[in-house]
């Protein structure tokens, strides 16, 4: 057991956790914050997305023991957040949820996109969202809702700690799998646009390596 102290949704928490306990299990189990959902536990679907020290993070592949001193916000912690309120309203208006299972993760990522990047075009928005999977909606309502909240908004001056969400990384990995079926360049290298037809980020990521 390791002792960790962290702030969860504004409250101080001290707990003993096993080294193998994942942040998601800690939040859902010990803290009974079950709004953080587990869709895959493989770091791919984004249902477990929480905000950790200001950045969005997959809690299913984060060890609780690594979060000593961290500030964690889950969906339950956004009840009074004004941006989240706008997103909730827009999600409902645009039918951006059906079963609701992906919704907490989607909202958490959406809030990050809107705050970090402000008004971006649909293509960029879809890319930023690409680390969150929804099986119900086809993303139509989700994209429309985020667009609505993002429209006319400028990026906040928060520190630019990363270019892409952790989520997009996983999506990059997924698509790299698809791309593996692409033949090794026969005398000529793949052109960037050939990759762009699926996901431009994947090209970068396959260069940088997924892990």
């Amino acid at each position: 057991m390791t002792q960790v102290s962290m702030t969860v949704n504004g409250g101080a928490v001290v707990a003993d956790v096993e080294p193998r306990t994942l942040l998601a299990d800690f939040l859902r189990g010990e803290m009974q914050l079950t709004g953080t959902h587990l869709g895959c536990e493989q770091g791919v679907c984004g249902a477990c997305t929480v905000v950790l020290d200001g950045r969005i993070q997959r809690s299913c592949i984060t060890f609780a023991a690594d979060c000593d001193g961290a500030d964690v916000t889950t969906i339950e912690g956004f009840d009074d957040d004004p941006t989240m309120e706008e997103l909730r309203e827009a999600f409902s208006e645009h039918h951006a949820l059906q079963c609701g299972f992906c919704t907490p993760g989607m909202l958490t990522t959406a809030r990050d996109i809107v705050l970090r990047l402000g008004d971006i075009d649909e293509r960029a928005l879809r890319e930023e969202l690409s680390g969150n999977l929804c099986r119900c909606t086809g993303y139509v309502g989700i994209v429309a809702a985020i667009k609505k909240v993002a429209t006319g908004r400028s990026p906040t001056s928060r520190p630019r700690w990363h270019r892409s969400s952790s989520g997009s990384r996983a999506q990059g990995c997924r698509l790299r799998r698809l791309r593996r079926q692409v033949p090794p360049s026969r005398g000529r290298r793949l052109q960037p646009w050939q990759l762009q037809s699926v996901d431009p980020r994947a090209a970068r990521q396959s260069r940088n390596g997924c892990r």
């Binding site: 679907c45 609701g100 299972f101 690409s130 099986r135 989700i142």
Partner: protein, 792 residues
Amino acid sequence: MSGDGAVAEGIGARARRKEDARHLRGRGRFVGDIHMPGLREVAFLRSPMAHAKILSKTRSPDHALDIFFSEDLVGVAPIVTRSSIPGYKVSQYPVLATDKVRFVGEPVAMCVARNRAIAEDLIEQVEVGYDELPAIASCAGGRRENSELLHPEWGDNLFLETFFDSGVDQIIASAPISVELEMSCARQTMHPMEGKGVLAWWDDRADQLVVHTSTQVPHLIRAGLAECLGIAQAQIRVAPPDVGGGFGYKCLLQPEEVAVAWLAATFKKPFRWTEDRREHLVAGANARQHEYHIKAYADAQGRLLALDAEVSVDTGAYSVWPFTACLEAAQAGGNLPGPYHLAAYRCRTYSVATNKPPFAPYRGVARPGVCFAMEQVIDAIAQKVGREAWEVRRDNLVPASAMPYTNITNKHYDSGDYPEALVAAKNMIGLEAFRAGPRRDDKGRYLGIGFASFTEQSAHGTKVFASWGLPLVPGFDQAHVKLTPDGALEVAAGIHTIGQGLETTLAQIAHEQTRVPLKHIRVTLGDTAMTPFSTGAYASRGIVMSGGAVSRAAEVVAGRIKSIAAHLLQVEPAAVGFAEGRIFAANASVSYEDVGRAWYLRPDQLPETVNTAGLEATEGYKPDVDTGVFSYATHAVRLAVDAETGLVEILDYAIVEDCGRMVNPMIVEGQTYGGAAQGIGTALFEESPYDDNAQPLASTLLDYILPGPTELPSFRIDHRETLSPYSAHGIKGVGEGGAIAPPAAIVNAINDALSPLNAAVRQVPASPRRIRDAIRRARPSQAVAPEAGVAR
């Protein structure tokens, strides 16, 4: 807008969903979210082999109470699904494997601990000795002479073989043209984002087993559990919490459900199993895998004359309960003629037992495969006769003037204008302008447009299910409606909400009848202790069946509200009407609360002749003609294919659909988009491959690609609203339709794009490799692609 708010909240309104509020704050409650004192978590040891005899099972003696084998499950019967179809072979699906395993992922032992991680650790304390047998990894393998038998007592590996022939030989002999195609769809996994989960406990006070399971069919699960556990149905309460998507995966009784219920019934404590994604990918790969060999005959204009088809379904090791192992093939054979007029049809189907997870009815059931096959046939005929595919399609579609129309497989198409939807989709996608433009874009990619038209038989009725030989045949769905003392409305129905928005749409229907404001209508679903019977949420039946039942019950209650209100207003019942959330007679009015109060608290105010059944009613419903009501649509897609890499980009996607009266157009669109997204997954990305030993090759979401936001287009949609003459309010179902057409439309578009290369893809997913292979195959002879199917 009328003053009573009917348009804003009743049938036809884009009402916001009641279920949103809890989910938007992370307050939804799924099986995995339930906290209960003393709850123990369950993990299953699953077979690593596709086909093997079990020689031994051992656990260390100190684990007799936390590790369980089938021998420990005393009194538990295997899952057995009988069918009334002659020749159907019954499988015994053990809850935990007994002497043999038949697919990778089959549960062999059950481990219990205070959390899932420790339960998984326990799995390592179990030793199972296997003697591996040859595995059946394909339909062909299963049908080969002398192949290994999954169920030796059967004598072969066929659940069922069916044959239908309306008499085609003469027509075939004289048909001017013919095409022959071989096509196949990969095995898939359904992937609701919430996996399956079940929590069971014993309620001592009620002396009842309480089961919180992630299911589409709570009332059926009660029946199934009773059968397997030997407990009376009255002693079982199935109370499903929020369900994170179903898509068919959750309309079955699963062995894990029985096992966990047995634990609770035996030890009188709470137990839970939550499926993880890897379990889902391995043990839940259970859908879509069809093979088609079709010969089609037509006249010189491309008008269909006859269809001669053979369909094989890679059915997996056991039959699921209650939908049987032959539902898929039965639907495939019955739906292949699609929305077309066809005079002669022959079809043979094989439901082959293989060493894979048991086949289950995934959104659309056989129809995505059937549509994929049939729509390629239409395009191949068009190519053969040198006409545009949409024209040949139009000429073959059942025209509006023929409605209602009974087709060759006895499907009764109730209403609609199929050709009009096709033409509208063609115009939306801009076919003429496209044909006038270049065949390749500035990046050198090949461009194409493809169409797919289909019907979606929804709310199939008693006769239809009976003809499929199901052991449980759905009939009437029921609903209960009640006005509370303070004037709100409570609606209860046994169907369950799985994301399709029934808490909202059923309330809209109740509002339509009673005009009680939507915000004062509360809908309770699924819990067998609190709702009247429904067979459940599947086969696009919810809004038609439960909607019809709610409509009826609400109508009855509305009549009773009116008669009490009339008495309070001292007028005849006929003189009162609902408006502005009150009950009016001329200018005088009373509130719903006044009526509620009179019945419950001030009976002295009631008329002498008041109906003593009070302000509540339970009504059952099924449509007058219960052969199903048929929604239909045409999907049109424009895309680009990179011949070098095989990558496909969808450039535009247009849908023209008609599901009768739309209760909530926003939800109709959501269902359609969501279905189409899954269909695009089928078309381009999703595949659960198996090797020759029937070992699954996809066990993470990195191997199995679910479509994400970057892979999907911004769909465009247009509605038609042809009412069904048979159902309440003219409503038809819409849950599955979106998923049916995309594989067909996309493959047709890819093949349109590749037509300058004479290449054609006949398999989904149309992965980069398959596309490149098709191009490579076409290259040697630039004339006719060898497997392209149109050669004859």
